[in-house]
């Protein structure tokens, strides 16, 4: 029983990390209908910025909550700037071009950040400093850390905040208008370019925050660390219905739990049929994605839009 609960908790913890990264994906997609493949790499960039800022402030030697409160906003700011430049240089010129062109520039930016990161930061893994002391929390035999709880809370708060921005603010209304029909939005006097830039800035800021939190929980960072979490988060966003904020969080949680339980049932499945199902973890995740999408083609919470002639 303890083990089952522990697995549940582990799955939620991993899922909340995926959810955190998926939020940025889904924001950008919701407005621009662009799969921003560079998102995972902006996330990596955030982790490295957090690393350098923390070392610059001497936090690696003396962890403190006050210090952490400086590192996070600074990192988010830098990532926001990166996101802005990214949009300005690689995506805005292609706004009226076929959508696939921006997908390729997104892959290009992704390669640039990965290979550039290997050149500038070096390919060796680094140890992300503990911004504040880590404590283990044990309740009824089930163990977690204060870092994991912070991640989960942050993910929940951000989902709420983003929902509020999208549905309760003037800017959110503009975002929805641009998402719905950007030419019409422009005719209505909405500054489309500024809205899209802002969305990118928000998305990249979220990636920066996710990078720092990820660094706390999984302290090994390297220039390619964004590839797999980025891909998993992307799946999470699609699973939940890409463009839908609570959907991204839900998708993240589902992926986290599936990954966890595939490994958890491995010994039993092996005894039953002699197959190590845990070795097929990634395949099972994708299999579930395919199954869900075949039955709900727009993801779990996405709205299905029948094609019009």
């Amino acid at each position: 029983m303890e083990t089952v609960l522990q697995h549940l908790l582990n799955g939620i913890a991993t899922g909340s990390i995926y959810a955190l990264i998926a939020l940025g994906y889904t924001m950008v997609y919701g407005v621009l209908k662009l799969i921003n493949f560079a998102h995972g790499d902006v996330f990596m960039f955030g982790a490295f910025m957090g690393f350098y800022i923390a070392h610059g402030l001497g936090l690696s030697a003396e962890p403190s909550i006050a210090g952490a409160l400086v590192v996070m906003p600074l990192t988010m700011l830098i990532c926001g700037v990166l996101g802005y430049l990214n949009e300005r240089i690689a995506y805005r010129p292609l706004r009226r071009a076929p959508r696939i062109a921006s997908l390729i520039t997104a892959i290009g930016v992704s390669f640039l950040l990965e290979f550039g990161g290997q050149m500038v930061f070096g390919p060796d893994p680094r140890f992300f400093p503990r911004l504040f002391p880590k404590t283990t929390i044990e309740v009824a035999g089930v163990v977690t850390t204060n870092y994991q709880i912070l991640v989960l809370l942050t993910a929940l708060v951000l989902v709420g905040a983003l929902q509020w921005i999208v549905f309760r603010t003037r800017f959110g209304k503009a975002m929805r208008a641009v998402s719905h029909n950007f030419e019409m939005a422009a005719l209505m006097g909405i500054p489309v370019d500024r809205v899209i830039s802002m969305t990118f800035v928000i998305g990249s800021t979220l990636a920066g925050a996710a990078g720092c939190l990820y660094g706390l929980v999984y302290p090994k960072i390297d220039p390619l660390m964004g590839v797999f979490p980025g891909l998993k988060a992307f799946i999470a966003a699609v699973l939940g219905g890409i463009g839908n904020v609570p959907g991204a969080a839900l998708g993240g949680l589902i992926i986290g739990l599936v990954e966890e339980y595939v490994v958890a049932v491995d010994p039993w499945v092996y005894d039953l049929i002699g197959l190590h199902i845990g070795r097929f973890k990634d395949a099972v995740v994708f299999g579930i994605l395919v199954a869900i999408l075949v039955f709900r083609p727009s993801g779990l919470l996405g709205r299905y839009e029948p094609e019009k002639v």
Binding site: T105, V294, E307
Partner: protein
Amino acid sequence: MRPTVSAAIALAALFVLFVLDRILPSLIDPYVFQVLIYLGINITLATSLNMVFGIAGQFSMGHAGFMAIGGYVAASITFFGGPVAGTAAPGLLLTALLGGGLAAAAAGWLVGLPSLRLTGDYLAIVTLGFGEIIRVIILNIETVGGARGFSGVPALGAFGPLGSFFWVYLVATVTVVVSIRLVGSSHGRALLAVRENEVAAEACGVNSTHYKVLAFVMAAFFAGIAGGLFGHFLQYLNPNSFTFIKSFEIVIMVVLGGLGSVTGAIVGAGIVTILPEGLRRVKDLNPAGTDPRMVIFAILLIVLMLTRPSGIMGTREIWDLFRRKPRSAKLD
């Protein structure tokens, strides 16, 4: 064209391939020859992806998976079947390549099914998922080496008198010719109609279900054969060669060249194959000793896409460039 004329052209093409196969290895050094072989394989991959992505408009990001299936099945046929058949004749290689292609085509049929319900980015992520599933499954099959890879695959040149160049460029030529003929055929028109507007195509009596699956099956078939050539040329296969990054690379070739254009796919394959090799010389100029070639490649990719958003060829073919007026102008 009359059948006899076609047959004559085909024979002449075979003869040219055979002659080049004989003389090229002594004309150019093995490194350039190897890049040339990869170019041929990548042309096949890009042209085949163009069938499903460019012509039929179905966004597939799992092409490396089909390549992997073709590669592993073909290698298994020659590796395990060779000793049984007791021969290393060209027939065995041909059987292996076709077997790999057919296995990949079967997978293509399976992957094509979700395309009946999914469109655009959702389809893209599902095909990417299929590609990864295929890779993970191969990773767990011990008989073909699993993570350690499949070593000891017989070389392409080990089957009778025909060398690597002949086989690779024979397949590339067939794929290109099939692609070009496809666009001009009624099937191709139906595929284009599905790409442009599925509902309207259905209304005109095009069975879009049939055509979408057909496009996946054909694309997977040729990608599978390309995988077989790849494995036999390298004499080694490893699941890590077929990650989603490889699929991205093939998508880049097609989009860079111009989505829907067959010659564009060839141009794209050329750029993605040769540019990183050409950039190797850059590091000799860099006193710091680090190799910036992939960074430069990434920047060039972005710049190319920004300057030619519809790809280098757009939707045109190379012969369209020599026409006075585009065909559509006649309608005005």
